[in-house]
């Protein structure tokens, strides 16, 4: 039936840390050695704790 939402957007973290505030978007990279590229993901962060970003 071909019903998939298309496109994506920058995650909005403003309410993504549950009761914790303030909740802000950060970029997280993984430790790589001398790789040509290192994967990067977004996370939400509040007082030192990371939270998953909302789904689009």
């Amino acid at each position: 039936s071909g019903m998939f939402a298309t496109g994506s957007s920058l995650p909005d973290c403003s309410h993504a840390c549950g009761p914790c505030a303030p909740c802000r978007r950060v970029m997280v990279s993984f430790e790589c050695s001398v790789a040509e590229s290192c994967p990067i993901v977004y996370r939400c962060m509040c007082r030192g704790r990371y939270y998953q970003v909302p789904s689009n």
Binding site: M3, S14, Y51, P54, S55
Partner: protein, 468 residues
């Protein structure tokens, strides 16, 4: 779930500009399932769109019932989303909730956690007319409740219902038959104690049915699920025969009925399951013989029949030869007697072979030398004797995953052993062939017998499952 790799801010800006410019060129795709919803490009939620007020009130209630009252302070739940809620807009720019998830799968993938002692599944769920997916993991384990019948009122929109390790008790409600669009039904790891409602066995679009690790009783209903690919009923109290109708579930790739009380023979119709990759019928009360039709399962990679009393003639010579993809064959404790069938050595794809805890005698067939991929072999607990027909490389590769203890006289050619006199620790339960024949000679005189017995016991204890 994880956000994909995203370009640098400059590139993001460029991309956004492109998408804004091109926005008018996107065609709006309407869906046949929920015509009210619009699958529009989600390039930033529209500034005007708002969540349906009735659904928002329901979300507040559902969240509060799980101990997540913080959600009630969010002015618009589809605009201020968290990991665990998904929304879609309709043509009138009203957002509807399409998915709600709860429970901490891991530290890194945590949906809103439930207060396990007090959480309840709010009836407000039935006020989400567009919801497609519901996921609750370890939510009510300290406050056991039945699976509520009102879930059946979610009717034709719900595609995925996962209530996993939630502590649910009682019956599977027959009202779930109303969920006619369901693709995934996962009730694994609860304490459900009813029989399986026959109406579930006819959900037309089901792809995955996982009812494993409950206390479900009764017989397996006559399944007629044309699209089911995974059927997992393991670790329940199901009895009776395996229904022949399972052979009509032609899309099955995994069928796990292990750890039940199933009896009778395996229906020959299972030979029709040409897509099947895993068949686990272990730990039941099944009897032989294995139907010859199973030899046609050319996709099958794992056949697990251990801990059934299949009987001595359950596996006629050549029974497995048509299984050309077979890598795992488990026949532990199935009552096998006589010599090991030569034909097993012709399943050259085998990587894991368990023949332990049977009454096999004679020697290991020379054909086993052709099992070039073998990495795990259990022969322990039989009456086998004679040399192992493996090269030094195969012995070395299997290492401690070769188990031969508790047999009267398995040995290996010393030249095949790793080095000199270290064989005893290298292969518990077996010594070099020359020594065994010497031992046999000696033991007739009675002089060496006690020492041999204690060595064998020590070897057997080193070969126990926990040890290796």
């Amino acid at each position: 779930m994880t956000s994909p790799l995203l370009p640098l801010p400059a590139a993001v800006a460029l991309l956004s500009a492109f998408l804004l410019a091109a926005a008018s060129e996107f065609t709006v795709v309407t869906t046949s399932d929920s015509p009210a919803l619009v699958d529009a490009p989600q390039t930033g939620f529209s500034a005007r769109a708002r969540t349906d007020p009735a659904e928002q009130a329901a979300v507040y209630e559902i969240m509060a019932a799980t101990g997540n009252g913080w959600a009630s302070s969010i002015p618009d739940v589809c605009r201020g989303r968290w990991h665990g809620i998904e929304c879609m807009p309709d043509r009138d720019e009203v957002y509807h909730i399409v998915s709600l998830s709860f429970g901490a799968l891991s530290d890194d993938t945590a949906f809103p956690a439930c207060d396990r002692r007090r959480s309840t599944l709010s009836p407000a769920l039935a006020c989400l007319p567009h919801v497609r997916g519901l996921f609750f993991y370890q939510c009510f384990s300290g406050n056991p409740q039945p699976v509520p019948a009102f879930l059946g009122r979610l009717g034709a929109t719900l595609r995925s219902l996962v209530l996993r390790q939630n502590g649910h008790v009682g019956a599977i409600p027959p009202e779930l038959r109303n969920l006619t669009s369901l693709r995934v039904l996962d009730l694994h790891g609860n304490s459900l104690s009813s029989s399986i409602p026959p109406s579930l066995a006819a959900l037309p679009r089901l792809h995955l049915l996982d009812l494993s690790r409950n206390q479900l009783t009764g017989e397996i209903p006559r399944f007629s699920l044309p699209s089911v690919s995974v059927l997992d009923l393991n670790d329940n109290l199901l009895h009776g025969q395996i229904p022949a109708s399972l052979g009509s579930c032609a899309s099955l790739i995994k069928l796990d009925l292990s750890k039940n009380r199933l009896s009778g023979t395996i229906p020959s119709s299972l030979g029709e399951l040409r897509e099947l990759i895993l068949l686990d019928l272990g730990h039941n009360r099944l009897s032989g013989p294995l139907p010859a039709s199973l030899g046609r399962l050319a996709s099958l990679k794992a056949l697990i029949l251990g801990a059934n009393h299949m009987g001595p003639a359950a596996f006629p010579d050549g029974a497995f030869e048509g299984m050309r993809a077979l890598t795992t064959l488990v026949l532990s404790g199935t009552g096998l007697r006589g010599p090991i069938p030569e034909s097993i050595g012709r399943i050259t794809t085998l990587r894991v072979l368990y023949l332990d805890d049977n009454h096999l005698n004679g020697s290991v067939p020379a054909s086993f030398r052709d099992l070039g991929s073998l990495s795990e072999l259990r022969l322990d607990g039989n009456q086998l004797s004679g040399p192992l027909p493996f090269s030094r490389q195969v012995l070395w590769r299997m290492g401690r995953k070769l188990k031969v203890s508790n047999n009267p006289g398995i040995c290996y050619n010393a030249s095949a052993g790793e080095r000199g006199n270290r064989e005893a620790s290298y292969l518990p339960g077996a010594g070099p062939c020359g020594a065994v024949s010497a031992t046999a000679t000696m033991s007739t005189t009675g002089t060496r017998a006690p020492a041999v017995a204690s060595a064998a016991t020590a070897a057997a204890s080193r070969g126990s499952p926990g040890g290796h």
